[in-house]
């Protein structure tokens, strides 16, 4: 990762959206406020605003995804942008060369924004450092590093239900080791001044350095969930598991799977979130996933509004400096 924050232009405005780390509290609040307005577009007869009309956005997915890609696509379409979906295989041997060629080719097609998902941490940063100056890059998940739009849609969901972050206890449960969502989430909760962030999971799935982020670590659900306001369940990333990190999925469910019984330790009005896709009976019981505490489907709708807000913000910076004057 680069030391310099290339996400911001020289006036501190959002140019790329690559990681929550390095962004300020006012900026996160601005994103959440914009999303509030964009969320209303979904409820209108015409679910579209003309803000990014004439812009071209390329979804560059080096790693498969349905939900994230689809919500980015819908967000772009609701802003009236044109969007290309490119599923690029990572199997090529000379990745570096091919990647830069891909970027030049898309630039030649006059794209204005790249939405990037990649299995390697830092991929979106790298691409942002390589593209032409008029192009913005949004990170849609890079390796184990960050998934900042997911974190922001989760913050938006929490804000809809709980308002004030400084009074909240939030527990993030499960496979922290492989989770870019967890990393972005912890940064976002910290920036927004959350009272307490807890991490719950087995020793093998919690990286040692995570404590440096100021979180409290629990290895037991009953004590970890005690009196929390928000429970964020993470997907058990079976495809990323290498070596013997877990005894078995059944054993995992017994200890860390969220059931109504375990949820009783949280506050009565606690909300349960999950970035999806959910593994029913592995990290979450169906009764909880479909139960009254669950806001999992709201998260999906909020994902569109948050992505609209972020896309509009990064595109809105272009030419801003030269055109300060404005007429009614």
């Amino acid at each position: 990762m680069t030391g310099k924050n290339i996400q911001l232009d020289k006036n501190g405005n959002l140019k790329h959206f690559l990681s929550i780390e390095g962004l300020s509290q006012p900026l996160l609040h601005t994103i959440l406020n914009y999303a509030e307005s964009f969320a209303t577009v979904d409820k209108r007869p015409v679910k579209k605003v003309p803000l990014l009309r004439g812009k071209t956005i390329a979804n560059l997915f080096f790693e498969p995804s349905t939900r994230t890609r689809t919500t980015f696509e819908l967000a772009a379409k609701r802003l009236s942008a044109d969007i290309l979906n490119l599923n690029i295989s990572t199997s090529a041997t000379s990745k570096g060369e091919i990647l830069s060629d891909t970027l030049r080719t898309l630039e030649a097609m006059h794209c204005d924004m790249f939405v990037v998902r990649h299995a390697n941490s830092g991929a979106a940063h790298y691409i942002a450092s390589q593209v032409a100056p008029h192009i913005s890059v949004i990170n849609a998940g890079d390796g184990r590093h960050e998934h900042p739009t997911q974190a922001m849609l989760d913050m938006f969901t929490i804000k809809q239900h709980k308002k004030d972050f400084t009074k909240l206890s939030v527990a993030i449960v499960g496979d922290i080791l492989h989770s870019r969502v967890a990393r972005s989430e912890i940064h976002a909760l910290n920036v927004l001044g959350t009272n307490e962030v807890r991490i719950i999971g087995p020793h093998t799935l919690i990286p040692k350095e995570i404590e440096k982020l100021g979180v409290h670590i629990y290895h037991d659900m009953n004590s970890g969930l005690k009196d929390v306001d928000v429970v964020v369940m993470l997907r058990l990333q079976r495809e990323r598991m290498r070596g013997a990190l877990l005894p078995s999925e059944d054993e995992y469910f017994k200890r860390y799977g969220l059931t109504n019984q375990k949820l009783k330790h949280a506050k009565k009005d606690a909300i349960v979130m999950h970035p999806g896709p959910i593994n029913r009976g592995v990290e979450i019981d169906s009764d909880v996933a479909d139960g009254k505490h669950s806001v999992i489907l709201q998260q999906v709708s909020h994902g569109i509004a948050i992505r609209m807000a972020i896309m509009a913000m990064v595109m809105g910076q272009i030419n801003r400096d030269e055109n300060k004057e404005k007429k009614k």
Binding site: N13, S37, P45, V46, A312, M313, G316, K327
Partner: protein, 168 residues
């Protein structure tokens, strides 16, 4: 330079003119929509005076502005509130100052994304020079002539006050 204008008198006159305008045109049960922020303040007063049946609509045109590529999103973006079906309704669109006409164009574009009204009439507190689009108000509180570099700004919501100021 500052010039005091009695807004309450202007609003009183506007309410009467809207009534007679709707009477002449045969608009029954019109729907009032204010443009945020100043237009909503004026519209709220008019709405109360005219005792309109349906709630006041609020329009935020931030997503419809034609200067997005120059200045980005307007910093004070709040959601539009239009809960009523607009199809076949007679709409009274209210704003504080009519200048270039670009705000009204953006507002009309947004209205048509909510439905297909039967008609739109434009009520303006203050009409000033500087039109850049063929947009004409149906109801005018006051027409003012401004010198170059001057602009009119409404502050509110309590109390409402209009100031003529030198820009820059």
């Amino acid at each position: 330079m500052t010039e005091k204008i009695d807004i309450n008198v202007l609003i009183e006159n506007m309410a009467e003119n809207i009534s007679s305008h709707c009477g002449t045109q045969g608009y029954k049960n019109p729907l009032m929509i204010g443009i945020q922020r100043g237009g909503v303040w004026i519209a709220a007063r008019l709405h109360q005076k005219l005792k309109l049946a349906d709630p006041l609509g609020e329009l935020n045109i931030a997503f419809y502005r034609d200067d997005f590529s120059k200045i980005g999103i307007h910093p004070e973006v709040k959601p539009s509130k239009l809960s009523i079906n607009l199809d076949d309704r007679h709409i009274i669109l209210v704003d504080d100052v009519l200048h270039t006409g670009r705000t009204i164009r953006a507002a009309m574009n947004e209205i048509f994304d909510y439905g297909r009204p039967a008609s739109i009439s434009l009520a303006i507190l203050v009409e000033r020079s500087g039109r850049e689009l063929p947009i004409h108000p149906d109801i005018i509180g006051k027409t003012i002539t401004l010198k170059e570099g001057e602009h009119a700004k409404l502050s509110g919501p309590e109390p409402l006050a209009l100031e003529i100021m030198k820009s820059g």
